[in-house]
C-alpha cells in the first residue's frame, strides 16, 4: 500500500514534464552516464547553467534527432563516433561553430565542415593474449590478419560503430575493392564475429580468440577491476589504418534556442580540466597536449605518430560501408 502511495506521488509530480527554464541546456548524450556525469556536474558548478541530459545509444539518439527535426528540444548532441556526427551533420541539423573553437587542435581532431568538434579520442588497437601469442606473431598491419597463421584466431565486431568507422577509413584510404578483398579474406580466414569491444576482450580472456580488433580504452577498464586480466594490447606499425583514431564529437543543434550556453559547454569540454578528466579517468586520448598523460595509455605524441592521417569528414559514407559489409554477408 505504502509503495503505491509513493509511486502515485512520484507519478503525479512527473506526469507532465517540468517546464525547462530558458537558461537550461538539454544534452543528448550517446556517451554513458558513468563516464560523462562528473564532467557535466563540474560544468554546472562552474557556470550555474543547469544541464538536462538524455542518455541513450549514440545511433538511436541520432535517429531520434532526425525524427524530431526542427522540433527537437535538444541544444547539444554528444556522439560516440565520427560516423554518427557526420550523419546528423549531413541531415542539416547542426549549427555552425565559430572558428576559434578549432584553434590548437591536432589535425586528426578537426572536422572540415566546421559544425562539430572532437571532444576526446580513441585509438583502434589489437588486443591479444600474451599467453598464446608470441612476439613474432604481432601483426605489422591489419592487412596481415588474412594470413593463414591467423586462421580462426581473430575476433571482430562488424555491427559495432567504431569498427564501421574504421572500415569507412579503410575505404577512403585504399578504395572499395581492396577493402572488400580484406573483408572477404578475413571472413574466409574464420574471423569470429562479436557484438562489440567488451565481448571481444572477454573472448580473448576466455581463449575463444587470440586477437581482437578493439578500441584502446576497454582493456584498461578490465585491468582496473582485475590487474591479472590475461589480455594485452598494442598498435600495428606506424601509420597503419588499423590504428585509426576515432573521436567522440560534440555539436550544437540548429534548432537550439540557447546556442550561447551550448557553445560555452563545448568550450568547457575542450578546456584542460575536462581533457585531464577524459584521459585520467576514462582512458581516452585528450585533444590537447596541455594535460598530464595517463601512464596506462600509449604516449600522446606516439599516438599522433602511429595514427593514419584521415580527415574525419571523409568518414561519412556509412551507407557505402554497410553495403560492403552486407555484400560480404557480415550484416
Amino acid at each position: 500500500m505504502q509503495k503505491n502511495v509513493i509511486a502515485s506521488a512520484t507519478l503525479l509530480s512527473t506526469l507532465l514534464a517540468a517546464p525547462i527554464a530558458a537558461a537550461d541546456l538539454t544534452l543528448y548524450s550517446g556517451r554513458g552516464e558513468s563516464m560523462v556525469e562528473p564532467i557535466i556536474q563540474q560544468f554546472e558548478r562552474n557556470t550555474g547553467i543547469n544541464v538536462n541530459v538524455r542518455y541513450g545509444d549514440t545511433a538511436q539518439l541520432a535517429v531520434l534527432l532526425q525524427e524530431e527535426g526542427q522540433r527537437s528540444p535538444a541544444d547539444l548532441y554528444w556522439g560516440q563516433d565520427a560516423g554518427a556526427m557526420g550523419a546528423i551533420s549531413q541531415a542539416g541539423l547542426l549549427a555552425e561553430l565559430p572558428d576559434d573553437i578549432y584553434e590548437g587542435l591536432p589535425g586528426i581532431y578537426t572536422s572540415e565542415t566546421g559544425n562539430w568538434v572532437a571532444a576526446s579520442g580513441r585509438a583502434r588497437v589489437f588486443a591479444y593474449s600474451p599467453e598464446r601469442v608470441s612476439e613474432d606473431e604481432y601483426p605489422e598491419s591489419i592487412f596481415d590478419l588474412t594470413d593463414e597463421r591467423y586462421e580462426g584466431r581473430v575476433g571482430w565486431a562488424p555491427t559495432n560503430g567504431s569498427f564501421q568507422s574504421f572500415i569507412t577509413a579503410m575505404r577512403v584510404e585504399y578504395g572499395d575493392e581492396r577493402t572488400q578483398e580484406w573483408l572477404e579474406g578475413m571472413r574466409d580466414n574464420g574471423a569470429v564475429t562479436f557484438r562489440n569491444n567488451t565481448t571481444q576482450v572477454q573472448g580473448v580472456a576466455d581463449g575463444e580468440i587470440d586477437f581482437g580488433l578493439v578500441n584502446n580504452y576497454y582493456l584498461p577498464r578490465f585491468l582496473a577491476a582485475d590487474s591479472d586480466y590475461p589480455v594485452a594490447q598494442a598498435f600495428f606499425a606506424e601509420g597503419d589504418i588499423g590504428n585509426l583514431v576515432n573521436v567522440a564529437g560534440i555539436a550544437v543543434l540548429e534548432s537550439s534556442d540557447n546556442k550561447d550556453a551550448a557553445l560555452e559547454f563545448i568550450r568547457f569540454l575542450l578546456s584542460p580540466a575536462a581533457q585531464q578528466y577524459f584521459t585520467g579517468s576514462v582512458y581516452e586520448y585528450p585533444v590537447t597536449r596541455d594535460v598530464i598523460q595517463n601512464p596506462e595509455l600509449e604516449d600522446f605524441d606516439r599516438l599522433l605518430e602511429v595514427s593514419p592521417q584521415i580527415d574525419l569528414d571523409d568518414l561519412e559514407d556509412l551507407e557505402g560501408t554497410l553495403n560492403l559489409l552486407r555484400d560480404a554477408g557480415l550484416l
Binding site: G56, A59, Q60, A62, Q66, T159, R195, L322
Partner: protein
C-alpha cells in the same frame, strides 16, 4: 462462443436475445476501439516511412537471400524457445497448483523472478559462465565451452520467458473445476486420459496465449540474441538503425517482421476455442492436491535444475560482479531513487494495460464477431513491433499532434501500455473463458447494473487473471529499454537504462547493483501482487 441453453425467465424478455446480434455496451466497445486506434499509429508511421524508400535500393535490401536466412534462423529460434519453455513451465505449474508440494508461494515467486532479469544480464550470465576465464573456471577450475550461438540464444530467451507461460498455465489450472475431473474418473478415465481429454483442452487457450507471447518476444528481442551472436531478424533491424542511422529500410524490415508476427497471430486464432466455462449447477470445487509420494525424487531435482539456471545463474553473476569490484556506497544510495522512477512509470503502465485488456477480452469472449476478433488481434501490433520502431512512431505522432505530451511521463506510460497490451490480454482472457456468462445474466436479472455485476460477480473471478496481467506488464516495463531511451522525460533515468549504459561501457561491476535492484524489486512487487490473489 457462448450458446448455452437459455432458461426462459421473466428477465429473458427484458434482456435482448443472446448471440451475435447482441449490442455491445459502450463501456466495452469504446475502450476497445481506442486501443485498436492507438495501434494504427505505428502502422501509419511505418507506411509513411516505407514509401520514402528509393525502389532500387529497396529491392536490393528486401529481396536478399539473406533475409530468408534471417527468417529461418528466427523461426527455428522461436520453435526452440517454445519447446524449451513448455518443458519448463508446464510441470512447474502442475507441481505448484495440483500437488501437495511444500513452499508453494516461494515456488510461485521463484517462477516469476526470471522474468525480471534483463535479457542482456541473462546473456552475460551464460556467456560469463563458460570459457577458460569464465566464472566457473575462476571459482572451480572446471572449464565449460562458451555458451553461444543458437543454443545460447535459445537458452537465454527460454530462461527469462518461461514465466509468461507459467503464469498463464497456473491461473488456468487454479481455476479449473475439480468436479469435471471427478466426473471423468467416475466414468473410468485413468490419470492419463483425464490429462489428455479434460485438462489439456482446458489448458489450450493459455498454452496458445503463452506460446504466442513468447514467440512474438523472440521475434523482437535483440539483447540476448545479439550478445549470443545469433543472427535473427531483429538483429538486422537494429543494425539498420544503429549502423546506418536509417529509418526507411528499418521500416521495411519492421514491416517484414510484422508480417511474420501477423501469421503467428492468425495461426493462434485458428485454434478452435471450445466452450470452457463450467456448465451445470453446483459450486466449482478446487481440486484436491495430489500427493507427490515417490514423484518427489523427480520433482525436487527438476525444480533445482530450473531455478538454478533461471534464478541462480543471474544471481551468481551479479554477486560475482559485486565482489569483483565492490561499488562505493554512493551507488547504493542512488538505487532507491532510480527504482522509484522505474516503478513510478511501470506501475501505471501495467494498470493502464490491464484496464484496456479487460474490455477487449470481454468483447472477444462475450460478444464474438469478426470485428471483435480484429480488434483483439490488433492489440498484438504494439507487442510485435520492434520497440525502437514503436518509440519512433510515437515521437513522430506526439510532436505533430500533441507536442506538450512529448517527452513526458504520460507518453512513456501510454507507449509502454501499447507495447504490453497483448501481455495483459492473455491471462485476463483465459480467466474470462472460465467464468460462465449466465452468472452475469443471473446478476442482471436480479436487477444489478453492469457496474455492480462486474464488481461483485465478475471481478472476484477474474482477479487472478488481472493480477497476473498486471504483474507481467509491470516486470516487462521495469526492464524495458528502447522505448525508455527515446520517450522518457530527459533526465528520467530508470534502472534498466543505468544497467545498460554501464554494461555497454564494459563497467560490469558498476552495473551490478542496479541490475540486482531490477531483479529484487520486481520480484518483491510480483510477490506482493500474488499474495493479493487469494483474498476475497
Amino acid at each position: 462462443m457462448s450458446n448455452s441453453a437459455e432458461l426462459a425467465s421473466p428477465a429473458a424478455r427484458r434482456t435482448p436475445p443472446k448471440g451475435r446480434t447482441r449490442r455491445v455496451p459502450l463501456h466495452i466497445l469504446l475502450p476497445s476501439l481506442v486501443a485498436a486506434a492507438a495501434m494504427l499509429v505505428p502502422l501509419f508511421y511505418l507506411g509513411l516511412r516505407a514509401f520514402e524508400a528509393d525502389p532500387q535500393t529497396l529491392a536490393n535490401l528486401v529481396l536478399r537471400r539473406r533475409n530468408l536466412d534471417l527468417l529461418l534462423n528466427t523461426l527455428s529460434l522461436a520453435l526452440g524457445v517454445v519447446a524449451m519453455t513448455t518443458l519448463m513451465a508446464l510441470p512447474l505449474a502442475w507441481l505448484v497448483v495440483r500437488t501437495n508440494i511444500r513452499f508453494k508461494r516461494l515456488l510461485t515467486i521463484l517462477g516469476v523472478i526470471p522474468l525480471a532479469v534483463p535479457g542482456y544480464v541473462m546473456a552475460y550470465a551464460l556467456i560469463g559462465l563458460g570459457g577458460n576465464y569464465g566464472v566457473l573456471a575462476q571459482l572451480t577450475g572446471v572449464q565449460l565451452p562458451r555458451i553461444e550461438g543458437y543454443f545460447g540464444a535459445m537458452l537465454a530467451l527460454s530462461l527469462y520467458t518461461f514465466p509468461y507461460l507459467f503464469l498463464n498455465l497456473r491461473a488456468t489450472l487454479a481455476g479449473l473445476d475439480g468436479n469435471l475431473e471427478e466426473s471423468a474418473r467416475s466414468l473410468g478415465y485413468g490419470n492419463r486420459e483425464v490429462f489428455l481429454k479434460i485438462i489439456l483442452p482446458h489448458l489450450a487457450p493459455s498454452l496458445m496465449a503463452g506460446w504466442l507471447v513468447i514467440t512474438l518476444y523472440v521475434l523482437g528481442d535483440f539483447g540476448a540474441v545479439a550478445l549470443m551472436r545469433y543472427e535473427a531478424f531483429s538483429y538486422a533491424i537494429y543494425t539498420q538503425y544503429s549502423g546506418a542511422f536509417d529509418r526507411i529500410y528499418a521500416a521495411w524490415l519492421s514491416i517484414m517482421l510484422l508480417a511474420v508476427a501477423a501469421s503467428f497471430v492468425m495461426l493462434d486464432s485458428l485454434v478452435v476455442k471450445r466452450k470452457l466455462a463450467r456448465v451445470g449447477t453446483g459450486v466449482a470445487r478446487p481440486v484436491k492436491p495430489m500427493r507427490l509420494g515417490r514423484l518427489r525424487w523427480l520433482a525436487y531435482p527438476y525444480l533445482v535444475l530450473i531455478f538454478g539456471a533461471s534464478v541462480g545463474l543471474p544471481t551468481l553473476i551479479l554477486g560475482y560482479w559485486l565482489v569483483l569490484a565492490p561499488p562505493d556506497l554512493s551507488f547504493f544510495a542512488r538505487v532507491p531513487g532510480t527504482f522509484l522512477r522505474s516503478a513510478g512509470a511501470a506501475l501505471p503502465a501495467a494498470l493502464l494495460s490491464a484496464a484496456f485488456a479487460l474490455p477487449i477480452a470481454y468483447l472477444t469472449v462475450r460478444y464474438r464477431s469478426t470485428a471483435a476478433t480484429l480488434i483483439e488481434r490488433s492489440a498484438y501490433i504494439g507487442y510485435a513491433i520492434p520497440p525502437l520502431t514503436l518509440a519512433l512512431a510515437m515521437v513522430f505522432f506526439s510532436l505533430r499532434t500533441a507536442p506538450f505530451l512529448y517527452q513526458t511521463l504520460t507518453l512513456l506510460i501510454v507507449t509502454w501500455a501499447m507495447a504490453s497490451l497483448a501481455l495483459a490480454l492473455g491471462p485476463i482472457r483465459s480467466a474470462l473463458l472460465q467464468t460462465r456468462p449466465n452468472m452475469e445474466e443471473a446478476s442482471h436479472s436480479l436487477g444489478h447494473g453492469p457496474l455492480s455485476t462486474f464488481l461483485w460477480v465478475i471481478f472476484p473471478r477474474l482477479r487472478r487473471g488481472i493480477l497476473a496481467g498486471v504483474a507481467l506488464v509491470f516486470v516487462l516495463c521495469m526492464k524495458e529499454l528502447p522505448i525508455t531511451f527515446l520517450l522518457a522525460p530527459t533526465g528520467y533515468t530508470t534502472l534498466a537504462v543505468t544497467v545498460f549504459t554501464r554494461t555497454s561501457e564494459g563497467m560490469l561491476a558498476e552495473a551490478a547493483p542496479f541490475a540486482a535492484a531490477i531483479v529484487v524489486f520486481s520480484s518483491l512487487s510480483v510477490g506482493f501482487l500474488l499474495t493479493k490473489e487469494g483474498k476475497r
